[in-house]
Symmetry: C2
Subunit: 327 residues, 2 copies
């Protein structure tokens, strides 16, 4: 890990990153003042999400590859949740001087792998490189609706069924395992080595892997849109909070059935960071994912579970919930 | 300045920001998983640039309004430099808990004002809000070429004239004034008050204002493209370095005439952050800006001034040049 980014400088870091990314397929890729990306139907879907060292990750837990993967995946999920096909990422890195150059290599590999595996045809087409005391990865994702209407949060209608595509509560269980088993006596995060992962029960190792490198169902976003999804959103803050948001935007009540939520319904309702897709559709229109409830007329509460108002929320407010730890 | 962002939380900060931004004109504006922006000719221009507390600004020198303005302006300039019309900004803010809520209000006002004044029709259409030890403003700008070809760095041809639209060396002079006159005995930045600015010689006050809130010639990017610009780029790292980049990309030599560069040619050649547009065009094709040289066949050096190879570069490598100061 000898060289640091402070020693090799901006130009050389950029060359190393670009050398690890697949060749651009855009009209104008990296290297000019801006990229030019195809937007075939005359609209572009655009979203941005940032990973910050401290509130969003621990360097002892996440490998550079996992951080690149996660930064891509969480943004791709927001594009998918509109029913769109991701077309390009822009990646703004703010790196401390002492960051190993090898860290940047791993990050680039993770970005490229997430695009290739989760959203084939999407690539890093631009970015920015600067220095900071706090390692920060700000990604913007672009996408194409290919002529379809965007699937918004506000389209759910009474009588729709509620479906869930992806994991529920797995990433949160992984985070709990990290805090339980990879935290030292003074609260410091301990390295997640391959050997340590192998020593875990398989479901715990799986949960840790999903926490560190989530696999949202990106291509399912387009499939759901084509199958007639009436509303859709990325479940990043936990099902209870995000289903409430969808219900509020649509002016309906989302009525969930706890028997569809797995062995630990509370974990499924409150655990965040899985980046599953929450979808509503006319009954029988869609076979994707699993049915977890129905949409009702707006009642006293926007969210019920087994017919009862659900009060717990989960979710994560960065200002309220970050304990200022890093590691 | 009572309330902090840590006290009011993510939802309330977002509401305050959105309340200060003009109403969205996009197909889908803020509030869903992603925005949907018009890209009328089937392509979108996209760029990202980040301002980081420490290397990029001092809170004693820049007001929140100026930071919002500058974060928008430097990104709008990259869109303009492709010959495009800015259509939307996405703004990712990473704020320390202790940031005053009023700071966020000022930042939002500065973003909105820069769009309204520099790029009418462009607005903040999305973003992200998180916590960080280091105040970081990552902006992505999108734009439309409206059917024209992008103006790249690589299109300059021997015989073209070289033109410059905007300031040269003014922002760097402003930074020098800040270091000279607004730095305390132990190197700490001192507040730039209205009274202190009024006490400066007018050209120094002007330079400081341009450093803190640059006014790049955004609409001139489209005008230059329509007038037949063969190459164009944003001069952010100083004319010498950026002209060298344009010359290298085009495989030519840029031959500058120092008599066109003002009283202090060295400052004009090495001072960064003005975000002027460097343009090449067939002789007589363009009246915008001023003629500062010609494009020659590629000679021994990519850049000459008065016929002699120019060795100084200026520019700013964040890893090499940041002294770790903040304030």
């Amino acid at each position: 890990m000898g060289e640091t980014v402070g020693a090799i400088g901006e130009g050389e870091i950029l060359r190393r990153i670009l050398a690890r990314l697949p060749r651009s397929a855009a009209p104008v890729g990296p290297g000019d003042d801006a990229a030019v990306i195809a937007a075939p139907d005359g609209r572009v879907v655009a979203t941005t999400d940032t990973l910050v060292h401290g509130p969003d990750f621990r360097l002892a837990w996440s490998s550079p590859f996992e951080l690149g993967w996660k930064a891509a995946a969480v943004n791709l999920a927001d594009v998918a949740a509109m029913g769109a096909r991701p077309t390009a990422l822009l990646v703004a890195l703010a790196l401390p001087d002492a960051t190993p150059a090898a860290f940047v290599d791993g990050l680039a590999d993770g970005l490229a792998a997430a695009c290739a595996e989760l959203a084939p045809g999407c690539a890093v087409e631009g970015g920015d490189l600067t220095v900071s005391d706090t390692l920060t990865i700000a990604v913007t994702a672009l996408g194409s609706l290919d002529g379809r209407d965007p699937v918004r949060r506000s389209g759910a209608r009474p009588g729709d069924e509620v479906r869930l595509i992806g994991d529920l509560g797995v990433a949160a269980r992984g985070l709990a395992v990290l805090f339980d088993r990879f935290t030292g006596p003074t609260g410091e995060p301990l390295p997640v080595t391959a050997a340590a992962l192998e020593a875990l029960p398989p479901h715990e190792a799986h949960a840790v892997a999903r926490q560190l490198a989530p696999c949202p169902p990106i291509t399912a976003g387009v499939t759901a849109a084509m199958a007639g999804a009436t509303a859709m959103m990325d479940v990043s803050d936990g099902l209870a909070l995000d289903a409430t948001r969808l219900a509020q935007a649509s002016g309906v009540t989302v009525e969930l059935d706890s028997t569809t939520l797995g062995a630990d319904a509370t974990a499924a309702l409150t655990g965040g960071e899985d980046h599953a897709l929450l979808v509503t559709a006319r009954p029988g229109a869609m076979s994707l994912g699993r049915r977890i409830g129905v949409v009702g007329e707006r009642g006293a509460a926007p969210l019920t579970v087994d017919g009862v108002e659900y009060g717990r929320r989960g979710g994560w407010d960065p200002y309220r919930d970050w304990d200022a730890g890093r590691g």
